[in-house]
Symmetry: C2
Subunit: 334 residues, 2 copies
């Protein structure tokens, strides 16, 4: 048997913890024998939750953590003061090498800060981008950075492009992924100071498959596999993707309920539509890795259900087996 992939799961993080986090963990170890999960959080609560399931105890362990970091807390302070919180304990398990990865649906701020301060950056990596998988009309793209580093520098965007290419190729399996710079026009001279300076850096980088600027309009059409931007722009792309989908679906549902005829039609199209809309939901694709750290930190939606927790845990297997961090170190670090 090959070495197991050890994943610390923040059992207390997110709106649906511990019910969905525990369920996701149990499902993950049932789905793949290569993974061992450490459920980190209040032991009595987790134990109670686990009573619902039968599972292989060799693949699941509870690590007690007394405290919980709430979503509203100032992240830097929370990470410093709540040493006994589930997030901080997960971070140390990765830092100390006990775990290869951690998965949390908890406070984004605390995860970003903890990832940098406790787990730490790979030497030579300037900033670790948060890199969610986003759906497009033909498949998926990797969007980075999406919330970790506002006002980033061109050299950082170049690193994002290279780390994103490695991740997309090795973990998602897209060969020679097309890298696009998110911009407000396709011509080279378009954009703001940041994109104008970044463009030639990407163009001159021989290790990536740079295809030029990508307009936001073409992102949902699948214009690139790796979408490079600083975090302010990336956050807007991600949140608009979620917000427009939600608004439009709500409008469509209301439209379908507007007459007897359309109500009848709605009954008939519902099953097909459900499948379609599922493939366009950002929640179907597991969590967003924070790339470039000494270990894998995966942030999932605060509203994560068991399926997203499970997918996020399983995603850690490819990350480890494909030696992503070693590749980042060898290929990118100067």
């Amino acid at each position: 048997m090959s070495e197991m992939v050890n994943v610390a799961v923040d059992a207390m993080g997110g709106d649906n913890a511990p019910v969905e986090t525990v369920k996701g963990a149990v499902n993950a170890i049932a789905a793949d024998q290569r993974v061992k999960v450490f459920l980190v959080g209040r032991e009595p609560v987790i134990k109670e939750e686990l009573k619902k399931y039968t599972y292989d105890t060799a693949h699941l362990e509870i690590i007690h953590a007394e405290e919980v970091i709430e979503t509203g807390e100032p992240p830097v302070m929370a990470i410093r003061q709540k040493r006994e919180s589930s997030i901080v304990k997960c971070m140390y398990m990765v830092k100390d090498g006990q775990c290869d990865a951690l998965v949390s649906a908890g406070s984004t701020g605390a995860i970003l800060v903890g990832g940098q301060v406790i787990v730490g950056r790979i030497k030579g990596i300037e900033r670790p981008p948060l890199a969610p998988i986003v759906p497009n009309i033909n498949g998926v793209s990797l969007l980075l950075d999406c919330g970790a580093n506002v006002d980033a520098k061109p050299s950082q965007l170049l690193q994002f492009a290279r780390m994103g290419s490695i991740y997309m190729e090795s973990v998602i399996g897209v060969r020679n992924p097309r890298v696009g710079l998110v911009n407000i026009g396709v011509e080279e001279e378009k954009g703001n100071a940041l994109t104008k300076e970044t463009y030639p850096l990407l163009q001159n980088c021989r290790e990536i498959n740079f295809i030029g600027n990508v307009e936001a309009r073409d992102i949902p059409m699948g214009a690139a596999d790796v979408l490079v931007c600083e975090a302010f722009a990336g956050n807007i792309v991600l949140k608009m993707l979620e917000g427009v989908s939600d608004a439009l679906i709500r409008k469509i549902k209301a439209g379908m309920m507007s007459s007897l005829k359309s109500k009848l039609g709605a009954l008939l199209v519902k099953p097909a539509l459900k499948q379609t809309l599922k493939s366009f939901s950002t929640e179907e694709y597991g969590g967003a890795p924070l790339l470039g750290l000494n270990g894998l930190v995966v942030k999932t939606h605060g509203s994560s259900k068991a399926i997203e927790i499970q997918n996020s845990i399983l995603q850690c297997i490819a990350f480890k087996e494909q030696n992503i961090n070693q590749k980042i170190q060898e290929q990118i670090v100067p």
Copy 2:
């Protein structure tokens, strides 16, 4: 009879010119007696097109312009060299006071440059924002800036907020419009250097109804009436709105065609859906004004059909009758 509103229409601008531009002009003067249109472009072509219609000649005049600025041309050069182009002629008609406003579906770059260089800014206005009306689930919002000024300064964003409030109140009729700063979190301390500096300026401005930061996710839900941002972010918001809608509608149509049952359902829901989707299309709301100039410059989609041209022309009436520029001058200019 009160004074007419004179509007120069770039008959040659856009993908569907002159067919749709001429049609839009004819429909506009039929719809409202207060407007007179000057169709600017190649006279023989326009005359030929006009043969299709009967119209009140007192409300429509042709102004010959030999040249056309193409979409791909470098804007500064095009504005300088093509003095006989339809866009440049329209600009001078506004500058010279012959027209109150101009409407063009032509090159965005040329319109932005021409607006500033030929029509000119109101004294004291730092930068003129491009301000499209965007649909949300409950109505519409004004998004500015949306393409004119990347890397804008906080003082400029404050002017955008004030001009946007005047426009939204006087032209669109929203009382005491809620102003939101587009940001990556709702808390005051969130964002990049620009939004952090802009926040207190908006908060301390007593002439606007500032409601704080607005996340992109809440824009399609109608979180604010006036959405303030610099042009890079604004362009992403607008283009994601268009792109996600298009992608999702395409997905939904494909999903509906996937089985016999769903095909039948699609026939029944189609009329209701069409109406719903129309209200969520950015093309339904006329053009985007470039605010803060000595006259009104309206940019419509390159793909504009007659209805968008018509709506854009009619929108100039309220702009003039409500004395928007006088209000901007009196209320904003220091």
